[in-house]
């Protein structure tokens, strides 16, 4: 159905009101998390756009604290799984255990049965465990024995990867990385933020606990609204141009990128870029998407979806470099 001008105006007002909780959430999370606004913002995008987030950063950057605080602020169940080489799929999803008193097998659910999952160092576990988690992420249901269990809503997986220690790790295959809506690369805090972190940690009594400012049901409602955010066909074309430029750079006068890209973004990249842009517009309390929304989220959606050739690796060209070139060449509507 064609959206009319008045529909969009109403939608804009509706979203403006409904998205007020984003500021509340940010304020609440700001009580315990110093800096890392970028990461928190991306977590919320993942939450609102029903996508999962792969986080790359060195240890000690408040990854666990962020997702734990977010789950507390939403009054949702949080679970942390430390991925290790000896982890088994049953340790993640659960298993059947024999109950001697009842003389029957009973289901023991795994830690994946929560709203927020922190899959810490996902690349340390073997492929079968990664697959079990990624399958659950995709299907949003788990089968143990003969019984299929739907996972709780909202369901957000935040997987982390350490970029510096690659020895003894199982690199996620491209097809599985593609299942993450966003790949967020986080850096160190600034000097000022670091000072706040020190003070906060030296005086833990002064910090106030996170209180639940919204309920999981509010997130489910917000998700519906995110899907309703208006996206003009010009923005759709812009998204398609960006994704196609990763596949056929020569069509966008970027012949020099052709030997550097082994594969471009999949249709899932276009879908996720559109969804994430809508979620970003929602967080900016708008009922429509503008090119800024697409550009703001583009790196996080696309960086793990652009494959580099050996030539690119030899020349130290990163997927971010390629995406920058593309964004500077594709005309903004």
């Amino acid at each position: 159905m064609e959206n009319t001008s008045s529909d969009i105006r109403q939608l804009n007002e509706k979203i403006h009101q409904a998205s007020a909780f984003v500021d509340l959430l940010n304020m609440e999370l700001g009580k315990v998390i110093v800096g890392q606004r970028y990461m928190v913002e991306r977590l919320l995008i993942g939450l609102l756009a029903q996508g999962h987030v792969l986080l790359e950063g060195v240890p000690g950057l408040a990854k666990t604290l962020s997702i734990k605080s977010l789950s507390s602020a939403i009054n949702a169940k949080f679970s942390r799984i430390q991925f290790t080489p000896d982890l088994l799929p049953a340790d993640v999803v659960g298993t059947m255990i024999y109950n001697q008193q009842k003389n029957e097998f009973v289901v023991r659910k795994g830690p994946i049965f929560a709203n927020f999952i922190l899959a810490d160092e996902i690349n340390r576990a073997p492929a079968k465990v990664q697959s079990a988690l990624l399958e659950a992420m995709q299907e949003r249901q788990i089968t143990i024995g003969d019984t299929t269990f739907k996972l709780d809503d909202p369901f957000l997986v935040l997987a982390t990867q350490n970029p510096i220690e690659q020895e003894g790790t199982y690199t996620l295959p491209e097809a599985q990385v593609d299942r993450f809506m966003l790949k967020v690369v986080i850096g160190y805090p600034t000097k000022e933020e670091e000072r706040h972190i020190i003070r906060q940690n030296l005086n833990p009594e002064a910090s106030t606990p996170i209180r639940a400012v919204i309920q999981p049901g509010d997130i489910m409602e917000a998700r519906k609204l995110v899907r309703e955010v208006y996206m003009d066909e010009k923005i759709e074309k812009y998204i398609i141009d960006i994704v196609f430029a990763t596949r056929n750079p020569e069509e966008y006068k970027l012949q020099k990128l052709k030997p550097l890209i082994s594969y471009g973004g999949s249709p899932r990249a276009s879908i996720n870029l559109a969804l994430a842009a809508k979620a970003y517009a929602f967080m900016k309390r708008r009922g429509y998407v503008i090119p800024e929304d697409v550009r703001s989220i583009c790196f996080d959606v696309m960086r793990h979806r652009v494959g580099l050739t050996y030539e690119a690796e030899a020349e130290n060209v990163t997927s971010e470099n390629i995406l920058s070139e593309i964004l500077n060449a594709v005309e903004v509507p």
Partner: protein, 335 residues
Amino acid sequence: MYKQQVIRRILLSFFIGLLFPLGLLAQNTLEVTAKADSSSIRIGEQVKLHLKATVPAAVFNKPEFRLLFPIVPDSMDHFEVVTRSNQDTLTQQGMKVLQQTLTITSFDSGHWEFPPLKFEVYGATGANSVDTLFSQPLAFDVNTVSVDTTKAFKPIKTVQAVPWNIWDYWPYMAGGGAVVLIALGLWLYFRKRPEKKPVEKLPLVTPYDLARQQLKSLKAEQLWQQGDIKQYYTRLTDILRTYFEHQFGIAALEQTSEELLKNIKPVTKLNQQRDKLRSLLAIADLAKFAKLQPTADEHEDCMHKAEEILEWTRPKEEPVAQAPGAPEEKPQTGA
């Protein structure tokens, strides 16, 4: 007397009878020889030495038969080997003749003996037989050039001129001829080629003039009056972005509104015009991406703001730029 004659005939017949089988025998044996063209040479003079081996055909055709000619070193006592021919095989009167010619010389004056040469024969008398045959030694007199020391020394002769021959110069003549032909061809080509039409020069338009023209044309099209508001704002912002791109050298067409406002700041002083640009871009974004229907006054106002921004950023000097292509201009600061 008669008796003596008879005895003499008998003895002669006896000796002839003895020689006949020896001749036959010689015809059926393997012989090697070494013969020189001359036994007396001047110092440094070359002489041919013919090595020859005569082999009965029956022996030669034996599968196991092999004859190795002597291996004469390049240099030996008093003699030097200058050249060696390939070994040749001839058939003469039922015999196989193998021969090779060496050219030898000597630089030592005196009487020298060329040593006997060793030929090795395999399989001549039996399947595994090995025989060795030697040629006769050869004597050479190597003489020096006699100099009459009683006479005065003559001067050294000058280099003798070689008689002129036209074929000695044919590559130069061919090259010269080719150059003449190419020159002639080029001359004919340039003489007969169609004359180039004079290039029509496009009128040179500055980015400012181009933007003014485009705004005027946009006004004349009356897009918003016809209800095509989205197209009106798309064109309006495109005109401004193209102007900024050409006038200030920033990639305005590839930047979002916020990026444009940020990136235009270092290249021109927009002052209060910056707010006008922000407001224009914000309304345009709403019209383009949120189906906002601004009022007629807002349409007029946006056009007016665009004109004001153009005037404000108009360069003082008129830089030359070619329209409608991309003008090559340096970013300039507005007034």
